[in-house]
Symmetry: C2
Subunit: 198 residues, 2 copies
DNA sequence: ACCGAAGTGGATATGCAATATCCGCTTATG
DNA sequence: CATAAGCGGATATTGCATATCCACTTCGGT
């Protein structure tokens, strides 16, 4: 066992959880560019306390999001079991983007980023891989256009994300509308998506 | 005439043009967050020279982009004369986004931004307004879904922009594909966009 | 050719914001 | 109660962008 199990003092453990909870909230609201000072203050703790447990912001972000992202990957993998691959993909994307909609930090993490931890990177790859399988199967089932690729996943997610970043006009979130629009367009159309005559 | 016409010395005028040219290139390549030092160096000039002509970065950016943006607005207005409003809107968006595709600074300016000059803001409004007219006319012509609004323009542009910001996989720019996909989805479908049975 | 105004360069002052540390004090725990 | 662990938050450090200043150069009219 090279793994250290320092066995934190009770109060320390309590503060560790407080830190994580605060980080979740702050990152969700203001994104990953929020400072550890912000997080500490929001948790009612000193900065030093936060830095004692997490060497830097990236470590804290990973602690906060690794699980959440992994859940999403699990959902993607589970989607592979669905009968209708197109519908499974649609449902998965809606589910995953719903998470992103309420969490700006998660959104930033999902996007292609340079400063990501190895773990986050792998998880993201896994998600995309599952989506790729779904696309292939949907095409075999004749429900998805043949020119769709795994390469389309990242742009689609980026596009929907960008709508979420827009200053929301009303209370409603218009991203579902656009996701539906795009996915709808990727189906095999009734008349092979014929253009208007003129 | 409260307008000053300082009549620049020949070399000064030359350097002013050099500055603008350099700014165009640097902003296009690296976006508006490039520093005036970058611009000056790229122009082969000292920072002081740049600051002598343009009080700050925003002024320089406006000098660089005001014309370009105004051209886009003119194009939008011209599009109102088209017979087929849907097609005119499609062509305009493709044209405008083509400009954005090769100019990161323009892209950032087109997006909703806080630090924009009054002039830029008005121009953007004008563009959106023209798009709104096109949408209304297309609906009257029965070529566009009735639930489309002017409010859809900003998200659409944002979505396509976000694709452009993605690290380009190959040499090809996939944004046209997505723009076509989205606009296609906004047409009135042959069978009123019926969902698949299952 | 000369001279004053205009222009130039770029080192550097200024300001700001985020990161991370340090250490005197407090608290948990055996 | 002893002591190791933990805490707080002022502050050092770093990094970056903005903008200025002024000794020096160049232009252009006479």
């Amino acid at each position: 066992m090279s793994e250290e199990t320092p066995v934190l003092r009770r109060d320390a453990e309590h503060n560790r959880r407080r830190t994580l909870a605060a980080a979740r909230e702050v990152f969700a609201a203001r994104g990953l560019q929020a400072t550890l000072n912000d997080v500490a203050h929001h948790a009612g703790l000193g900065v030093g306390t936060v830095y004692r447990r997490f060497p830097n912001k990236e470590a804290l972000a990973e602690a906060v999001y690794a699980g959440k992202l992994d859940d999403i990957r699990a959902t993607a993998q589970a989607a592979l079991a669905g009968r209708d691959a197109y519908e499974a993909l649609r449902a998965f994307l809606e589910h995953a983007l719903e998470q992103a909609a309420t969490d700006r930090g998660l959104r930033e993490l999902i996007r292609q980023g340079t400063s990501d931890s190895e773990r986050i990177l792998r998880t993201r790859e896994g998600i995309v891989e599952s989506c790729g399988h779904l696309i292939t199967r949907a095409q075999e089932q004749g429900t998805m256009r043949d020119d769709v690729t795994v390469e389309d996943i990242a742009p689609i997610v980026a596009m929907i994300d960008s709508v979420m970043d827009l200053p929301a006009a009303g209370a409603v979130q218009p991203w579902r509308r656009y996701l539906a629009l795009i996915l709808d367009g990727l189906q095999t159309g009734p008349d092979h998506r014929g253009r208007r005559s003129s």
